[in-house]
């Protein structure tokens, strides 16, 4: 499927243009332009399973041919591809062509921002942004949390370098500023 040139929030002409992504002891990076595909509603899980996508239990993350499979609900599943996204594109094409019961597209590629928090002061910053206990023994690599991060509804999970956060794309600039504010406090305490 041809992808039209989309303007993402932090790009020139985007709604968050000019908002700085914090870097230093806490690093925020934007993955919003990376491929993802979400399905929800009756039939989603059965359709994906029929395509050979192994589905984890709710609030867990699975893996399928380089994609991460996030189970947000019984019938709410999100596929994330950080690399080439070939498998994801194939699944999307198959889904568009399918005539059977297949759920609905949840438009996560347009509706959600995808950002990554990392850096040496990651743990402190995250504890200022999210009320959950996200220490490794409580929150593993296959866990995901649907909660609040920086006071907005978000999905968060571990990535190799830190935490990935998915949230309403219209809050992109707000979220970047919220993270910058928390990172600023963290710096002050260690100055």
């Amino acid at each position: 499927m041809a992808t039209a040139a989309r303007i993402y929030p932090f790009m020139p002409g985007g709604a968050a243009e000019g908002t700085k992504l914090v870097s230093g002891a806490v690093v925020l990076s934007d993955l919003t332009d990376k491929p993802r595909f979400g399905l929800k509603g009756g039939g989603s899980a059965a359709w994906l399973a029929a395509q050979g996508v192994p589905l984890p239990t709710v609030n867990r993350i699975g893996e399928h041919r380089g994609m991460r499979v996030l189970r947000l609900g019984n019938e709410d599943i999100l596929l994330l591809a950080e690399g080439t996204g070939e498998t994801l594109a194939q699944i999307k094409t198959a889904w568009l062509a399918a005539a059977t019961s297949k759920g609905y597209s949840s438009w996560r590629e347009e509706g959600w921002a995808w950002m990554r928090l990392s850096g040496p002061r990651l743990a402190e910053a995250m504890s200022g942004l999210c009320a959950l206990d996200l220490r490794p023994k409580k929150f593993g690599a296959d866990d995901l949390a649907q909660t609040r991060v920086g006071h907005i509804e978000a999905v968060t999970f571990r990535s190799p370098t830190g935490f990935d956060i998915l949230f309403d794309i219209t809050a992109s600039a707000y979220f970047a500023r919220a993270v910058a504010a928390v990172a600023g406090h963290t710096d002050q305490h260690h100055a």
């Binding site: 709710v58 609030n59 959950l132 909660t147 509804e153």
Partner: protein, 88 residues
């Protein structure tokens, strides 16, 4: 911080939740007089005791039920809506 245990997401700060009021029987449209309808629509029962209420965990958009003591404002238990269907 007050906690509410979501059957799907576990214990969370109560401001991650939204209340949708008590579970009520739906009146039969063919056998209900206007007076009962308006009472059903506009009057809250507001009695003392234990009620079963609809709640929603906002970040995951998950609706579930909670049994709450209205006098002590204490949540007794929370459970998935399928359990109510199974009991009915």
């Amino acid at each position: 911080m007050k906690l509410l245990t979501c059957p799907m997401n576990g214990p969370r700060n109560i401001d991650e939740f939204q209340s949708f009021g008590p579970v009520r029987a739906r009146p039969d449209p063919n056998a209900t007089a206007d007076k009962e309808w308006s009472r059903h629509l506009f009057r809250a029962e507001n009695r003392k005791g234990v009620v079963v209420e609809w709640w929603r965990h906002v970040p995951s958009n998950y609706f579930f039920l909670a049994e709450r003591d209205l006098v002590r404002n204490e949540i007794i238990r929370t459970f998935d809506a399928s359990q109510l269907r199974d009991r009915a």
